[in-house]
């Protein structure tokens, strides 16, 4: 039987104010995080995991109280791609999140009330700055690697730009250097769904003891759609009906409708995802464009980056397609960076980065092996 590590989340209280990209200042904040494995004597074996939009700090292991495995337990653990016998793995909940780190549902110290819509807009750069404070707290001089998929991959890229001497290896999975108009458009529809829910109350819904459940579920349904591929949906649902015949009404008739409604419902109620966090995360995605600071030139943006890169994309991912990953690869090549690129054949669309796949695992673990070899030889 598979051995899964028991984990307990920890909280870092940060009292040093954070000046955010938007100009707002967060006087103090908390970051909740988990660690797996042990930090070695010279602190050289630390891997940071950056989570995606709806993810959190519970990336691996299992809690004593409940039976929920971490969202990336397929890849993190004893003998897995990110082997916790070798690496010290850290994952924190992003600032503005709703799983323990300071976010819109936290109390605003200056008013004593829930932040709600007053929580400042967070950007990818702010996340990375807060994660860097966590790095200092954990006394990690330099990450052996930073790994992330989707929005997590964007944070990895940002790390390599903002703190080039604090990251030796960057693994960027199913990401992009910025969002396309289509990506932003999908996010905007999701936000409209939430903000136009009568229970949203301009973001102050918690004070009204309610949540914009319908809007959030709708936003999730839309988001979820963009994670799947046409092929996969065709194979999984096709035109299969819930009952034996068509009813010619507006009730749920096709299995795919039922599935999407379930996903939306689960997200809004069972997982209790905060609607303001959803808005924040999608905004942070929209604003992500590190090259904007460098004359829109990604090559110059990555000029100071010294990390070795592994970039991974998935064939049926249309949210962040292989071409988007290749743009990152190209900019790295223009800088003569050490970069490898793999394109994984998968029918699972964007979601593939979270799922099991032999080729994906082989690429991933081979690269992690390289990092562990670097640790042993003590050279880059």
């Amino acid at each position: 039987m598979e051995q899964i590590e028991l984990v307990t989340p920890k909280t870092l209280q940060v009292t040093k104010p954070l000046t955010m990209v938007s100009g707002s200042i967060l006087p103090k904040y908390e970051l909740v995080f988990e660690t797996y494995g042990k930090l070695n004597d010279d602190g050289s074996n630390a891997i940071l995991i950056c989570h995606a939009l709806s993810g959190n700090h519970h990336a691996a292991g299992i809690y004593e109280s409940e039976n929920t495995k971490g969202w990336w337990h397929e890849h993190i653990g004893s003998g897995k791609s990110i082997d916790t016998n070798i690496f010290f793995v850290v994952c924190s909940n992003n600032l503005g999140g709703c799983h323990g780190s300071t976010g819109p549902a936290s109390i605003n110290p200056s008013t004593g009330k829930i932040y709600g819509s007053d929580f400042p807009i967070v950007t990818c750069k702010d996340w990375v700055a807060s994660q860097n404070t966590l790095r200092e707290h954990l006394q990690i001089d330099c990450w052996a690697g930073i790994v992330g998929g989707s929005m997590g991959g964007m944070q990895v890229l940002q790390w390599s730009i903002d703190y080039p001497d604090k990251i030796k290896n960057a693994i960027v999975i199913a990401a992009a250097a910025k969002l396309s108009a289509q990506n932003i458009a999908f996010n905007e529809v999701a936000r409209r769904a939430i903000m136009e829910d009568a229970d949203f109350h301009d973001g102050r819904f918690l004070e009204y003891n309610t949540i914009p459940k319908k809007g959030l579920a709708l936003a999730r349904m839309l988001g979820h759609l963009t994670y799947l591929s046409d092929d996969m949906m065709g194979e999984k649902f096709g035109r299969e009906l819930r009952t034996e015949k068509l009813n010619y009404n507006y009730e749920v008739e096709f299995q795919v409708e039922s599935y999407l409604r379930y996903q939306g419902e689960k997200f809004a109620t069972k997982l209790n995802f905060d609607a303001n966090t959803y808005l924040l995360m999608t905004k942070a995605l929209d604003y992500f464009d590190p090259a904007a600071e460098f004359n829109n030139d990604l090559e110059t943006t990555l000029a100071k980056t010294t990390a070795n890169f592994l970039v991974i994309s998935f064939t049926t991912d249309w949210r962040f397609s292989p071409e988007r990953s290749q743009e990152i690869v190209k900019a790295l090549l223009d800088n003569n960076a050490n970069v490898s690129y793999a394109e994984i054949t998968s029918q699972h669309g964007h979601d593939a980065f979270l799922l099991k796949n032999d080729h994906y695992e082989a690429v991933f673990s081979s690269y992690m092996n390289r990092i562990s070899t670097q640790l042993q030889t003590g050279r880059k």
Binding site: Q326, K330, L333, V339, S340, A342, H359, A362, S366, R370
Partner: protein, 202 residues
């Protein structure tokens, strides 16, 4: 000494120290690793096969999983990005070897190409007396499942070079036994099994 190692030896002699190298169809990355070890070259490998890409990652080289028939060289690299672009035993599997050669000579200052000689006497004998497509150690596939869609002879290749203004800087012909025999020197197109060409634009 294996066949691969003689090929490697000749290539190693041709490539300069600290050169920036692109290896097309790099397989498990063995050649780049060898060149890095011997000559401290830097650079990248390109490989279409997923499993070989994994092996190349394992070997420690920089590898880009890519498709040479999809213009991936152009996608990633500007003119004169490399001192050498090497392609061992892959020319015959691409869709348009002539266009690829041109791309290679734009992207790199020099190219090194190796490929099997279709006009080797054993192939000629099989086709002439057997009346069937040659099948042997160098060409192990059936005519219907072979990835080798553009087999050519040394003569064919040299003619293409001449027509496309490509200078042959050096040529080396070897056989399975890793030797260059007298016969191969006199009639390379009949006795040579594998040729290595070092080429550049005139």
């Amino acid at each position: 000494m294996s066949k691969a190692s003689l090929e490697f030896k000749i290539i190693t002699k041709w490539v300069s120290k600290n050169a920036k190298v692109l290896d097309l169809g790099c397989g498990d990355g063995r050649l780049l690793k060898h060149l890095n070890h011997k000559l401290a070259v830097t650079g990248y490998g390109m490989e279409i096969d997923p499993e070989k890409t994994v092996k190349a990652i394992k070997s420690g080289i920089n590898v880009l999983q890519s498709n040479l028939d999809r213009n991936d060289i152009q996608r990633y690299f500007a003119k004169n990005s490399f001192e050498f672009i090497i392609m061992t035993q892959a020319l015959q599997v691409v869709r348009r070897p002539d266009l690829l050669l041109e791309q290679m000579l734009i992207t790199g200052k020099e190219s090194i190409i190796t490929f099997p000689n279709f006009a080797h006497w054993r192939n000629r004998v099989q086709l002439f007396f057997g009346g069937k497509m040659p099948q042997n150690e160098a060409l192990p596939y059936n005519w219907y499942d072979t990835p080798n869609i553009h087999l050519c002879t040394f003569k064919d290749f040299e003619e293409l070079c001449k027509n496309n203004n490509i200078e042959i800087v050096a040529r080396s012909v070897i056989n399975k036994q890793n030797k260059t025999t007298l016969c191969m020197k006199i009639a390379p197109n009949l006795f040579g099994e594998v040729a290595l060409y070092r080429i550049k634009k005139y």
